[in-house]
């Protein structure tokens, strides 16, 4: 009796939320097929009854008549696919290392890196007037060398282990992105002064997005690798199979569902990312979110065209969501929250 009442309330809540979720999507879908009059004379809702649907907006978009859609689509696709592949590849390798090996990093070595980097940069930049990109490169290499040597020495102080390294990766995501995005913009701008084109270029964007996707990839892949049984690897090690071969020929195939799920999530994040693209591109490599953001000011109330642009960005993600929804039902993602 009581259960039935709660069931009914539950059903009402679920249906209400379903409507709330789907109405905006329905709206953008039908608006893309509206002729201009069906927009400018007030809200219209149902195709064939309220208005006669037309494909004109799609035709215009791809004929390049009303702003060029094709370059951002190509840029978004190239950058997203490359950066996703790189971050999942590097992220999976790092996650595997964090699951199967032990790392010990002395906190003092880390602090020494920071001191050497900041101090060295100040000296090179202010005293010796070395151009910023070279100075940064030099102190990066120098700081790392000092840190590696110090880590070998028997230093006192806390020792960071695997969990801390994982946290270090994940903590990159806790930063407000404007902090590192703006810093990266400054460095890229300095690089342009010495003739390296990173602003508004594919390598610049791919590098930025690889770093953007890596924390997710490391975090998610770590959980998937933890569920891969270690016995098979031990057997292979007895047979003297190299670590790299074990990883690529045994572990990766066993963790394929996890790799696919991780790729999907990273792909979605990079595809939708706005701030980095806004800061790091200006013309040629502008991505879809930047094109979208420009729509509302450049087009005013040309909603049919705006809807087409929004749909282009949404459709691949609907595929991703359906795919992940299936994986979720099979309980695959449940393990990744523990």
């Amino acid at each position: 009796m009581e259960t039935r009442l709660y069931r009914r309330i539950g059903l009402v809540i679920a249906l209400g939320w379903l409507f709330f979720t789907l109405f905006p999507l329905y709206w953008v879908l039908v608006t893309a097929f509206k002729p201009p009059l069906a927009v400018s004379q007030g809200a219209t809702f149902v195709p064939f009854i309220d208005f006669q649907p037309t494909l004109q907006a799609f035709a215009d978009a791809f004929a390049g008549l009303r702003g060029d859609f094709l370059p951002p689509i190509i840029a978004s696709t190239l950058v997203t696919l490359t950066a996703t592949a790189l971050s999942v590849f590097f992220g999976a390798m790092a996650a595997y290392a964090l699951v199967r090996f032990t790392f010990r990093i002395k906190l003092l070595a880390g602090i020494a890196f920071g001191v050497v980097a900041i101090g060295g940069f100040l000296v090179l930049d202010k005293v010796l007037h070395v151009p910023v990109p070279y100075a940064l490169g030099l102190v990066l290499v120098g700081g790392l060398a000092v840190a590696i040597v110090l880590n070998r020495l028997p230093l006192p102080g806390p020792v960071l282990v695997n969990d801390d390294v994982t946290f270090w990766f994940v903590s990159q995501r806790m930063f407000p992105p404007i902090v590192s995005a703006f810093a990266l913009f400054l460095v890229y701008a300095e690089m342009r002064k010495v003739g390296v084109q990173m602003l508004d270029s594919m390598p610049g964007l791919v590098l930025a997005y690889t770093a953007f996707g890596l924390p997710f990839a490391v975090w998610l892949m770590r959980d998937f690798f933890q569920n891969v049984p270690v016995e098979v690897e031990e057997a292979a090690m007895v047979d003297n199979v190299g670590r790299l071969r074990i990883f690529f020929q045994i572990v990766v195939p066993m963790a394929t569902p996890g790799i696919v799920a991780t790729s999907m999530i990273v792909l979605a994040f990079i595809w939708n990312e706005f701030l980095l693209a806004l800061l790091l591109t200006s013309a040629r490599w502008q991505t879809l979110p930047i094109l979208l953001a420009g729509q509302s000011s450049s087009r005013g109330d040309e909603w049919w065209a705006i809807s087409v642009a929004a749909l282009i960005s949404i459709l691949p993600m609907i595929v991703v969501a359906i795919f992940l929804g299936r994986m979720m039902r099979s309980g695959l993602l449940a393990g990744s929250i523990k």
Binding site: S180, L214, M237, L244, I318
Partner: protein
Amino acid sequence: MSVGTAPDRVKYLFIWPAFLVVLTVSLFPLIYALIVSFQAVRLVPPVPPRFVGLDNYAQVLGSGRFWGAMWTTTIIVFVSVALQYVIGFTLALVLHHNVPGAALYRVSFLLPMFLAPVGVALIARMIFHPVLGPVNALITGLGFPTVTFLTDPALAISVLILVEVWQWTPFVVLLMLAGLQGLPAEVFEAARVDNIPVLRRFRDITFPMLLPLSTAVVFIRLIEGYKVVDTAFVLTGGGPGTATETLTLYAYYEGFRKFNIGMTSALSFVFLVVVTIAGTLYLVAAQRLARRYR
């Protein structure tokens, strides 16, 4: 286990590429930005950088616009995360108890969080349009006067909150549902045998058991929420006036409209400190709450 402790140099080959990329791209430029934040740098007009000490920071902390943006962001984040958590947890419970048609809801409930916030904001702009939007069509259809959602400060913030809730409640649903499915069935079986009413079962069993997960979910949403920029950028551009200007949007305007590089760097570091303090305070509070339930 023997594999885990094997002193194997190959481990560095595995971890260095990822480590280097994150270090070089995400962390290392901060050194340069930190130094820039103590200088007066302007790109337009170009003047040679000059060391000004803490001037930039003083300017940020003394600026009313900064505190306005801080307040706006905080309101948006706290209200929207509270709504996301309550609605998301409720929906997860509903889905967990297999309402009819659960399979249908799953994908549609998941969908919004995978869409570009910029696209979502564009759709919201259409829906809340004063003359041509469906919401106002409904309002005027019922005989009320037109509501200009995006030009009234309080309403514009409400629309932003609504968009955030629409987009990110699915995240809460996803994780809370996974948490519910991971709870031991025996406890609930015992509670049912003892005939404990549904609401008490939730208050005394489900909620306390999911408290650690809830804490984590809300923490992630708070941190992510403070980053909000794309929605405000498209939906209102920070307006009317600066009523919906979030911290990131303010930093962007300082850096890319005024080209005040030193101050923007200082601003982003202040922002970092604020988020760190807020995050720590939250975690302390969450620990207290968890202790009360133990």
